[in-house]
């Protein structure tokens, strides 16, 4: 995905005016779904929330399965955006706009998915918060946005969260992963406290603990026994996916 082309430069089939063309495409009996899914993907890449919402509405109006719209249309955009970010073609504001557009589309499609009982299955349940004493949440918010847009169910506990609060929420929602963020070197000890509390309460190894923050390193993660660490929100997505595959495998093995 890291070719020389700019992320805005997509195939010739894309037409920004597609939304208004949809009824005519239907009448003409054209290959609608391909075009529509392509437009959905592009609306996410463009970070165009209004267009994404409009396309979602159009899809419902013409009877496209909402789950298919997500999986084949919008989600492809998020994957593309993540890849482009990974190779330095897209930047954090682009990525956030893509995530927001994704949210706009899902908001439209969700009621119909619920009605059909075809709700998009969450990739996993993740609890996020910043360590006690740390009110810096920009990194944690980015991770929440990206993971949520990618299909994880996020429970964001906000800032300066105590180990007890992490544990209580993890039990309450039967979380798969707990993510603890700390910007300050002085609050990084709070990450360790959360991991210890998860251990004390017998939640690990079933619940995975991941950490992040400007001063956090792989070494620190190993030292405090975290299951993973990531440098940025996109790496956090990969990390969460990898950990979920371990959780799933384990579940299967135990079953």
């Amino acid at each position: 995905m890291c070719g020389g082309s700019r992320f805005l430069d997509v195939g010739p089939e894309y037409n920004p005016g597609l939304v208004s063309l949809i009824p005519r495409l239907i009448c003409a009996g054209g290959s609608l779904s391909g075009q529509l899914f392509q437009a959905m993907r592009q609306s996410i890449i463009d970070g165009a929330s209004d267009t994404a919402a409009e396309l979602a509405q159009q899809a419902l109006a013409i009877g496209v399965d909402p789950l298919e719209a997500v999986n084949q249309g919008f989600a492809a955009g998020i994957t593309f955006a993540g890849d482009q970010f990974g190779c330095g073609q897209m930047f954090l504001p682009d990525l956030l706009a893509s995530a927001e557009a994704m949210k706009a589309a899902i908001n439209i499609l969700e009621p119909e998915m619920l009605k059909r009982g075809s709700q998009r299955e969450a990739l996993g349940k993740i609890i996020l918060g910043t360590a006690r004493g740390d009110i810096h949440d920009i990194g944690k918010n980015l991770v929440a946005t990206i993971l949520s847009a990618s299909g994880f169910q996020i429970f964001d506990l906000g800032t300066s969260v105590t180990p007890e609060e992490f544990v209580a929420k993890a039990k309450e929602v039967d979380a798969d992963i707990v993510g603890i963020s700390a910007l300050l070197t002085t609050t990084m000890a709070g990450q360790k406290a959360v991991i210890e509390a998860l251990d004390r309460n017998g939640l690990r190894p079933r619940v995975k603990a991941i950490i992040g923050g400007a001063a956090v390193t792989q070494k620190w993660a190993a030292e405090i026994g975290a299951d993973g660490y990531s440098r940025n929100a996109i790496d956090a997505l990969e990390l969460a996916k990898n950990l979920m595959s371990k959780v799933m495998n384990k579940g299967t093995a135990q079953a």
Partner: protein, 480 residues
């Protein structure tokens, strides 16, 4: 003529302050603690749901009571740092948890021996007017880590100290330690040896911890350096000027709190603003835009007639390499040309995550060059060149002239052996890092630890033991 750089016009500074005052009213400033709310309400400020709307007139009254300049003193009670006017000083950056190991080139957790080495080198280099509590000592109990760092610095240095506490509870012990160093609380107030960095949280948030320490420092009369750190595009407007405006609002709010608690107490218009890296989400301290933010923020403070501080001479590189040299030297020059009173950051790598004593001695050379630059092109004697030509004619024998001998030390900065200007000879040439390592070893071997009267050491010990008990630490440490 002293050369200077100005990024902002007076008109633009006027607009920045105008919008900063608007921000203080809407959206207002988040204030974290009950004592701060009480203090503000008693001054007639409206505080609802933890958000204060601070009117311009109150801010201006508070700014009027803040001193335009003050001094920090060394251990002998002599003036060593003048915060005010265009005076420029540098101190090593703080506070890291990692140290670059010069043998393995890996970052490892910093320990007491690293802090001592940093202090020893800083002590020997005239480029650093002050010490800083530069690294966390991971081998000391973290519950009193801030006090311990200060203890180590006080036991190894004569210079003033730029420091800060890690918690609200930790501040009093540090002030007591400084009072023991100065002889009494009153002496500390009259001749402060240290300045404390106190940080608001962007955007426009004076947290419980930050504001508590700001008020306590104001009441104790110990200088406070307000280090506002907007990240342009992340926690602040993406435009440089927008972030400078937010910085101004945060510092103005801080000065208001500070002066309400202790009118006339020394306070610094400081900062560590940076751009927000749109790839990594980090704060690139070596970026030229980060330097520009520091310069512009300081210009606003200087316009208001307040002492200033900035965070420069740091790099984002993980090694002491060409990037580290380029970024650090560039910002040292820019900071000096702006006339920032205290410039913190030297020695720091990896966007302030790691310290290197080898980088510190290289940065010292950049700082010396920056000092040379701001002295500008000076005139000496009645003529510029003709009097010297009258002696040499066309012989070209300037090396023999008494003027040459008299002036070359002022005209040229004579670098240490860290800077290579030698001709290629029989010895194989070395790189800057190798020379820096040798220089560090040389300075450390020449260093002499100051001696202390027994009673001062006993006072130190009793404060550390008291604080260790308070924090629930089993055994106290000497800091030696």
């Amino acid at each position: 003529m002293r050369p200077r750089i100005q990024l902002l016009t007076p008109e633009l500074i006027g607009r920045i302050l105008c919008e900063a005052f608007e921000l203080l009213m809407s959206p207002g400033v988040r204030v974290g603690s009950a004592p701060v709310v009480e203090l503000l309400r008693s001054a007639g400020v409206e505080v609802n749901d933890g958000v204060a709307r601070v009117p311009e007139q109150l801010v201006r009254n508070c700014m009027a009571s803040a001193p335009r300049d003050f001094n920090l003193y060394n251990r002998s009670g002599e003036k060593a740092v003048h915060y005010g006017g265009d005076d420029v000083h540098f101190d090593p950056g703080s506070c890291c948890v990692q140290m670059l190991d010069p043998d393995t080139l890996e970052a490892r957790p910093s320990e007491t021996r690293d802090l001592v080495r940093l202090i020893q080198v800083t002590e020997s280099l005239p480029q650093f007017a002050a010490q800083s509590t530069a690294v966390v000592c991971n081998d000391a109990p973290s519950a009193i880590g801030d006090l311990y760092r200060l203890l180590v610095v006080l036991q190894h240095s004569h210079k003033p100290v730029v420091t800060g506490s890690f918690s609200a509870a930790g501040l009093q012990g540090m002030i007591d330690l400084l009072a023991a160093d100065s002889g009494s609380q009153d002496n500390l107030r009259k001749k402060p040896r240290a300045v404390f960095d106190v940080c608001p949280s962007p955007p426009l948030n004076w947290s419980e911890f930050g504001s508590h320490n700001l008020l306590e420092l104001a009441r104790a009369g110990v200088p406070a350096e307000i280090v506002s750190m907007p990240l342009a595009g992340g926690t602040a407007p993406v435009t440089l000027v927008g972030s400078v405006t937010q910085h101004a609002a945060e510092v103005l709010a801080g000065i208001t709190l500070h002066q309400l608690a202790g009118p006339g107490s020394p306070v610094v218009w400081g900062g560590a603003p940076a751009i927000f890296d749109m790839r990594t989400g980090g704060a690139p301290m070596g970026a030229v835009e980060t330097a520009m933010l520091n310069m512009a923020c300081a210009e606003v403070g200087k316009h208001l007639g307040l002492p200033t501080h900035g965070y420069l001479v740091a790099t984002d590189s993980k090694f002491v390499d060409a990037q580290a040299g380029a970024e650090s030297a560039r910002s040292a020059m820019l900071g000096a040309l702006t006339g920032i009173n205290m410039i913190s950051g030297a020695g720091m790598l990896e966007s302030l995550a790691c310290h290197s004593v080898e980088k510190l001695v290289i940065d010292a050379e950049s700082i010396a060059s920056a000092y040379r630059l701001v002295r500008g092109v000076e005139t000496r004697g009645a003529t510029l060149a003709t009097a010297m030509f009258a002696q040499t004619g066309l012989s070209g024998e300037f090396l023999k002239l008494k003027e040459t001998r008299a002036h070359f030390r002022q005209e040229q900065h004579l670098p240490s052996p860290v800077i290579d200007r030698s001709a290629r000879g029989s010895e194989p040439p070395s790189d800057a890092f190798t020379r820096a390592r040798a220089r560090v070893n040389e300075l450390v071997s020449q260093y002499q630890k100051p001696s202390f009267p027994e009673d001062v050491l006993r006072k130190y010990q009793s404060i550390v033991e008291r604080e260790a008990d308070r924090a629930g630490v089993a055994s106290a440490l000497s800091g030696d």
